[in-house]
Point group: C2
Chain length 836, copies 2
């Protein structure tokens, strides 16, 4: 498919965006127009599901016109089309910038049909014109090899919502509405989707929306009554209970029901149109009073419950079993249309029931009555630039992160909480970008020590206040609700509509959104292949309460496997960074906030820890992504090291450095190289990831024939997986998290997982040929040190002082080479540090 | 800790379980008793958080009595204790078997305190007696190295609910209530947890509960107003809105509020007690009318909203900032009690405010007034055997799965949908186990072709019915709601209370419950180490709509990474099976339903596919978990093969067999070995997993020096990860899913991911030394075949006949060796199958 790009834009109408209009009775012509659009969209939807050819039914329908594999979902589609037609009318009349979130995204044929009817589709895919030839291609491509998917996807104009996994329609909608005060987001929620957990809580998003500075979300709960093979819960509770539920969610519900028992759609058109007028007037009033400053409390925003038959307008019965208004119309009601002549006849009748001859002219172009219903230009929901956020994205104004550097006169000479330092920079990011950057999190922004941001902004909150509340305000750059699903969904919606942000959460609980990450990563992968989709800001995770320091929580909060999950996705969309101190974290995050179309996972501890690199060195190291810490090793110029100590992550880096210093004291002749990997994808072969190292680079760093002891933040096998093709892999020994440790101290935690300094020294002794025999005494002392540390912890409830008070000491050589200032006192390893 | 085991049981009281009692005004003595319990539980909770020693405050509190690291959560605890005391009273009065689900499981000290006061704790942990010595150990062990975690966990008596990730209190509660008609499940939901998606939808569980045959869930929404650093949503909406929400969820809400502004707890005790009496009488009435058959509709079960101050009874202010009734009391309000003398004084005052001298006698034993409040024996919530489900678990009565075998006269001679065959066996499992086995799923049981179960049972449903409904009934063994969280939570609750079941869902969407699986796996790991916890039935997944056949859905439903996620957990709790046909699936599932304390992941397609093994061979193969398909290879007795074709999963097995047959025809001199891995953990080294093969076994199967081409169901690197220590790993070449393929046909899908038969043949040609040069023509023809297949699919919308109609043909040798009956017609590989 060729593709052009949308250039239209929507003028800023300020507070006039939502205007009150006197309700008027719908004229018959408008009614006819709405119905014609709806019939045309339904016709094209059925056509897409079934037809290879003969899209205008100008010849008798035969077997050859039917696709051999009938794939798609009809059931939800007529409802989606019905709503689309009606929204067209009100957008045209009121000129409200509107996007359409299709919760039941599997109703893909409907969304394509609507985009085709309003002209957007042919503008973006020029080979699919509004004529008979285009119609044939439109039908054929749907759910056909080499064509388009059956779900609304990145290739569907006007979509920001992949229609795969259900549950996120409302959180995406609210994410789009934040900081878009003139925008209306019409969000259709299927009654199947409404049963999911994420959707059930996302109704509460209205407690986080500011009526003045944010846009409006109009939830439309589409009750068609059935899922795949079951009725839906919300369609089978008493109406009063359902209305009570919606009021309990803080909405003013409007119920529109119709189309059952053969009711004339005209009556339903009229009811929905009148309701939409009422609802939009209520919205206009809320917006006006917000603008006037007279809005007292959180408004009970309107929402619509539309109850229509599942599969509305398909055959009432097929083979004597109900089809319309039954779960049997969920996918393809006439699955054997190709091979059963009677079914072919039924399909023929079904298609002709829309009277296509009235809807398309001789050349196959939709008649003006239909196309005139569409709003103009960018006001068309399928053409609205908000739904192609990349075209609206402005680069962030980023303060120079180097100005926030912590002083590191020598490695380990100072201590900081890395995320607290990042918070200071983020504070100024917020200051410089007051309307297109947000931080989302499940109540952990302060716990994650990003509290400095609250110096310049607040946590957005639109529920009741108490005098004791702090940093809550009707508008703010931080949005917190105890639902990772909400945070992720809001951020995705915010990014997909052209803005920037980050999601900070506990490492273990980010698994809650594993499948949401999946969908977003797939969206990014697909959208990169669609010329008219412009790059959007990356989705940035900050996982700062990580597995090694779950002091208040223990094993229930320990699982570093999100990284494993992420690296399963296409290499060109995922990045994983493990900064180990304040300066590397600053540098990493600056990079993340500048990037587009990635998912960046940054794992960085919030606890006080040593700063290892000055800012200049941090930048250099971050730029390389992997590097040798010459200052920490004991290599001899021009010679291979005897052993390589690798590390990735803040706690492993600390333990490796402590092990290196123990070795330097105890085994002075050993040539140790210390390597840190801060950009995890550097480990991968260059052909497999854009950040991957060539084998030559890898070998130069890790050697090809020396033992490598690698201490890694997460599950150890991930390092094997990333490096299994590398030379010397057989001699790579990885220590990492292995599901041990509940109630414990920081050092006990690393000991339980065998990633502590003493264990690493033992690993070196065991793996460097001959060393173990020569240093049997050291090996024993390392084991004794572990036993002693364990016993001390059990007795005193805190880490043994020789570990708790440990600081890095420069070796004589590296002092000469690199350090200008003295460092703190040394008690490296206590009695463990000497060996004959 | 030593441990004994609970032996008590609760007599079956039939329909008298829930009896109506005339409400009576609470006597002052009972009031004093409730308050004494509450004060004691609070005192012990604070003691656990802060005290190393001096638990009875018999000496002045000093720095040395305070733990060096203060870890835990106070905020939710007093509310949990308050409820526990009150439930004790009503259980004692009414003798209702009751368990207590602690949604805010981080209030661990409270649950331990209550179990200590009712005597259970000392019964199970005999070194922690009800005396001064026991008290000291009780306090010291909490959140202390080598002690117990700060969250309710498997080691907490009476708990079936890990208090880590929030959201599952109600789904666990309903899972426990299913088929336990005499059970009351009191489920405390924190207002933080209430914001999560899973919790928000779990209220709807009441539409799936049968009032006659299931137990009763009493949700208690505990509004203490704050999370870590924010107010909660539900505490900040108008009361009428909250009540409306609860009514919308189908409940009759009862609001109890108190304790604010210094209100005397006595008044709150009275209000809660009266409300509990009212609520239990309402429950008794519902139960009675259900028993009498006079219950017309779904009852509006009562629920309680308890609004009390966060951190109730802790200091009102600390350092001039609010503590009680503020988020600051969430964790440890006096975090510097050890190092700040003023804070130590405040702590002293706080502890003494509970008047411990009135609560414990001279030897440190709780006074009889307190202990008498506890129900007797197994009626104690901490001792209820339902919460230690393993003691109640009965083995399933399993029909002989061999009786359900499909006939396989020769490999590939017959075709079945494997899950449809499994469904027939499951039907009879249900028939034989009518009250302790359930199937949960998000509306996919029929879609996953397990529909045969509906011959003997229905889908349990307690919302409105329509005449057109099928297989819905007030009680049934199948429970379906469109929420994977609900399905998983229900099943966990069902298993943890001693029953059996399975969860069937789409492979891609099982990621929705990644983090729930984590918690359950950790629970299993922990409970194995607790002597009084008895083994529970395994958690069985059936992932039958897998990534290779997402016909209606495409890429949005593709992600095989759940397996990767699962194998990150401790080896002794996870098992992964990839049966590839009907008989292996039967054998696998029989094994799963017999097993305990595992998580079994079974991935098995639902589409028609060839049966490869007769039942005898299937059992043999399943028993080994990995094996050589001699009938498919071209080995020569006593010689090493030239190449090994490995496979795991139904689609990869098909492609490998097709490749093997192509090679047999085209490269007759090539000695091919075909190996199938059905138990994925067999690949692991024996030291790392109980199912792991020894290196000798592995080498005997895969050789040490021949190229291995391995076609795997999921992400290919998992196979590398599992085998990286094996000999010959450098020559292991894995094909698997790599995120390719949207709208396509089955064979196109495998081609796009380079795991198709033609590609595998090319792999063999490229990797067996010298073969590529000799068979350059074959290589070209394989490439041509792929191009032709792709082009055919693009043109016709279905797979090219030479693939679609392919069937397995026995080689002459294996026919002689193994097959008694003839096989189907052969058109192996069409023109691709010959080579000079």
């Amino acid at each position: 498919m060729s593709a052009s790009e949308p250039t239209a834009s929507i003028p800023d109408r300020g507070t006039a965006a939502f205007s009150y209009r006197e309700n008027h009775r719908l004229g018959d012509e408008t009614l006819a127009q709405l119905d014609a659009w709806w019939r045309a969209a339904n016709y094209l939807s059925v056509g897409q599901i079934y037809l290879l050819d003969n899209p205008l039914l100008r010849e008798p329908l035969t077997r050859e016109h039917i696709k051999p594999r009938l794939l798609g979902h009809w059931g939800t589609t007529p409802g989606l089309n019905f709503l689309y037609a009606h929204l067209n009318r009100v957008i045209r009349e009121r000129e409200i910038s509107t996007i359409y979130i299709t919760g039941p995204g599997h109703g893909g044929p409907g969304m394509v049909a609507n985009a085709y009817l309003d002209g957007t589709y042919s503008e973006l895919y020029s080979d699919i014109g509004q004529n008979a030839d285009g119609l044939q291609k439109l039908c054929r491509q749907f759910s056909f090899p080499g064509g388009i998917p059956s779900h609304a996807s990145a290739d569907t104009p006007g979509s920001i919502h992949e229609g795969g996994e259900l549950g996120y329609a409302l959180s995406h909608a609210y994410g789009a509405a934040f900081d878009n005060p003139d925008l209306l987001v019409a969000a259709v929620i299927g009654d199947g989707e409404a049963e999911t957990g994420p959707l059930a809580t996302s109704w509460h998003s209205n407690k986080f929306l500011n009526p003045l500075t944010d846009g409006v979300v109009l939830p439309i709960l589409h009750l068609n009554g059935y899922k795949i093979a079951n009725p839906t819960v919300l369609a089978r509770i008493p109406e009063e209970e359902l209305l009570s539920l919606m009021r309990g969610y803080g909405h003013t519900p409007y119920l529109v029901s119709g189309g059952f028992d053969g009711e004339d759609p005209a009556a339903v058109h009229r009811r929905l149109a009148e309701t939409l007028d009422t609802v939009l007037n209520q919205i206009a009033e809320i917006k006006a009073s917000a603008a006037a400053g007279t809005l007292q409390n959180r408004p009970a925003w309107p929402m619509i419950i539309l109850r229509t038959p599942k599969g509305w307008t398909c055959p009432k019965e097929i083979d004597g079993l109900p089809a319309e208004n039954n779960w049997r119309s969920h996918q393809v009601p006439l699955a054997s249309a190709r091979d059963t002549p009677e079914h072919l006849d039924v399909l023929d009748g079904w298609l002709r029931s829309y009277r296509p001859e009235e809807l398309f002219d001789n050349s196959g172009t939709p008649i003006p009555l239909i196309t005139d219903l569409a709003p103009k230009g960018a006001l068309r929901m399928s053409a609205n630039p908000v739904a192609n956020g990349g075209v609206l994205r402005r680069d962030l104004v980023l303060p120079d992160f180097r100005d926030y550097a912590v002083g590191v006169p020598a490695p380990g000479a100072t201590v900081n909480e890395a995320t607290r330092v990042l918070g200071e920079w983020l504070r100024d990011v917020i200051r410089a970008n007051p309307d297109n950057f947000r931080i989302f999190g499940p109540d952990e922004t302060v716990s994650n020590r990003l509290g400095a941001v609250l110096e310049v902004t607040d946590k957005q909150w639109n529920a009741a206040y108490l005098p004791s509340d702090e940093h809550l305000a009707p508008t703010g750059r931080v949005v917190e609700m105890l639902s990772e699903h909400q945070c992720e969904g809001w951020l995705e919606g915010y990014l997909l509509t052209g803005r920037h942000g980050l999601f900070n959460t506990y490492e273990a609980f980010v698994h809650i959104v594993d499948s949401m990450f999946n969908q977003h990563a797939k969206w990014l992968k697909t959208s990169k292949e669609i010329p008219w989709r412009r790059p959007i800001a990356s989705l940035n995770y900050l996982l700062s309460s990580h597995v090694w320091r779950q002091d208040h929580n223990g094993s229930s909060h320990q699982d570093p496997g999100f990284i494993d999950h992420v690296v399963n996705k296409k290499a060109d969309v995922v990045r994983v960074y493990l900064p180990f101190d304040a300066n590397t974290l600053l540098s990493a995050y600056d990079h993340c906030l500048r990037s587009v179309d990635y998912v960046n996972v940054v794992v960085a501890g919030k606890q006080p820890t040593f700063n290892w690199l000055s800012m200049d060195r941090a930048i250099e190291h971050m730029t390389r992504g992997v590097g040798i810490f010459e200052w920490a090793g004991t290599e001899v110029e021009g010679e291979q090291p005897d052993v390589v100590l690798g590390c990735a992550g803040d706690v492993p880096t600390l333990e490796v450095l402590a092990a290196a210093s123990l070795l330097r004291e105890a085994v002075p002749e050993l040539k140790v190289r210390v390597v840190n990997v801060v950009d995890l994808m550097r480990l991968v072969s260059e052909g497999e990831h854009p950040h991957g190292m060539s084998d030559r680079e890898y070998d130069a760093i890790f050697t090809t024939d020396r033992p490598v002891i690698f201490a890694y933040h997460g599950y150890p096998w991930l390092i094997h997986r990333l490096t299994y093709r590398r030379a010397g892999h057989a001699d790579l020994h990885v220590r990492g998290y292995k599901e041990e440790g509940t109630t414990t101290t920081p050092f006990d935690m690393v000991m339980l997982n065998d990633i502590d300094r003493y264990r690493l020294v033992i690993d070196v002794l065991d793996r460097v040929p001959g060393l173990g025999e020569r240093y049997a005494g050291l090996r024993q002392r390392m084991q004794d040190a572990r036993v002693r540390a364990r016993a001390y912890t059990r007795e005193h409830g805190e880490d043994i002082p020789e570990v708790a008070d440990w600081t890095w000491t420069e070796g004589p050589e590296s002092q000469a080479r690199e350090v200008n200032t003295g460092v703190g006192s040394s008690n490296v390893g206590g009695t463990e540090s000497r060996e004959g």
